[in-house]
Amino acid sequence: MWDIILNPFVTILAWLYAALNQDIVLAIVVLTVIIRILTFPLFAKQQESQKKMQQIQPQLKKLQEKYKGDKEKMSQAQMKLYRENKVNPVGGCFPMLIQFPILIGLYQAIFFALAATPFQLVDLSERLLIPGLDSLIPLQRMWSPIPQLTALLPELDLTLSPMENPTYALALPLLVLVTTWGQQKLTMSSVGQKPAKKDDDDGDGAGGQAAAMTKSMTTIMPIMFGFFSLSFSVGLSIYFVTSNLIGVVQYSPQGKQFLGRIFGRKSSEEAPVEVVFEDDEPVKKTRKRRKKKPRRK
């Protein structure tokens, strides 16, 4: 099943390797950029859904307070709120579910292409879909960041971990850590989540809990990825850094605007629909008007 996704990725990677003067690092970077750009519409949809959810959070909280103890009523009211705001609570999951196998496929393709042992390489024989690419195997796994300075910066073995490479390769896990952190930070701000504060808790503990979780994830995830990168091959670390950097560009307002223009997407600036309930029954709904921005002179 995975082969349907994986084999084309391995083939494209090998093809790019051939096209880019047998530079596997360049091939990894280019393929990562292509995949991240192609999956941008899915990513944008997921972001939009998350943002909408974030916008109706205050109303959701009000409902939770109002219907405390009556789960059925609360769920009905929540559904109505979602409907009126055209929000699907699991809407963000679908684009993510599509993106996930693509990104894992890309990650696995790099892993298979950088086969360093017979046991790994034997698998590659079933994965190259274009004739002629077999003559490139094994792909060149020694890579120098600056070929003119190999005395200062010796070649890296892309199939080995940073620990087994020259000392300067240890900068890669650090880069993974920093770029993962950067991407996480921008993700939080782009969906409207604020950094957690102690007084975020609104009494029921849920807000504080979520904020604490967010804060912990922003701290722990980069450390976790940085730590894993110590044992991953250098080639995979390069993929992580590239992917994170593209993520940073995608999540930044300018990047989103630029990519949105390419894919013809407009970001939703509409304020959420407020649903008013009286005596447990919805009686009217109002749409808040957007505040007019003062025109620039």
Partner: protein
Amino acid sequence: MKQAIRSRMVLVICLVLGALNLSGCVGARMGVSWPAIGLIDLYGETHITVAYNNDVAILSPANGAPARLISPIDGEVLRDSQNNPRTWILRGSENDGSQFFSAPIRLDDDTVLIADNNKRLLKVDSVILEVQRAYPLDDKVLTNSLVADDTIYVPFQNGGLSAISLQDFRLKWKLATDAGVWAQPLLVDDMLIVPSIDHFLYAVDSSTGARLWTADLGGAVASTPLHANGRLYVGSFNKSFFEISLDGAIMSTYATQNWVWGTPAIDEYGVIYVADLSGYVHALDSENGLRERWSVQIAERGIRAGPLVYGDRVIVASRDGKVYWLDRRDGQLLNAREIDERPELLGDMMLLEPGADLTIDEPLLLVSSVHDARLLIAFGVDGRQTWVYPR
């Protein structure tokens, strides 16, 4: 307090799931290679050797049981502190975490040599099963070394080969290659043939290491060539099989369906049998260049190891977990045996025939897998499973 604990729990679960995802992403293929099998004389009888991951074992060909260590003084079986008989299994865990993918080589009655995947050549006392000395090597070893004329030729995983004197274990000469040497070198008179995954076949003077010729085969060469008819026969990863003269000229080429990774077999009529990683077996006449006799796809998955010829049959083992017996005249399937749980049959095969030093009643076909519970499987000539060696 409760909420804090719950929050931590959720976080831990998320991290575990993240770690699981990452491990899933890496895929299951984290191994190095497959078992290396061979034969060795021990206590005056021929035994089977199998080297895989953390163990090297010497087995009885009769039943696949590890050989027992016998005292040279009284001929009694050596026993451990709990009075259990000691068996010939060298464990990497007891020897600085050694990993083995290279079969042991007998040096003399009491000594064997084993090149490990930890850049060491181990000199082992085969009587008491103890490492006497570990000589450092330039790189990891993942295929069999070759011994000839007081020299051991050790091929390296990441490239190159060293010729080391067996007298004093000093380096005689080195051959540099651009990528790994993943198959045992071949000695043809004084010429050492070294296949490399850097796409080249190297021929060097076995005593000096002087390069005689190189042949560019357009793809990785990961198998030991077959020497027959005054020619070399070898396949490569660019889906080709070659006939090469002993001075390095490519005489003839045959297109296969996929990579060729195993050493071909030849019968008494000069017909060469080649298997490839698409599950095809090809029979080629070799009298005037390479001409196809028949070519059949026999297995669902690739065939890594080279075929064997026995009587009127060609035998191949596939990654689909099956062993196939074909009619060598037309490639028709005669018999197929599925190994329990269908492990990938990646290691080389071996055919043993009864002899003075080999205590078996009938010919034995050895097939090796990467499944710990079925590392080595022995079949009779009729395809009946005789014994299984689990690790």
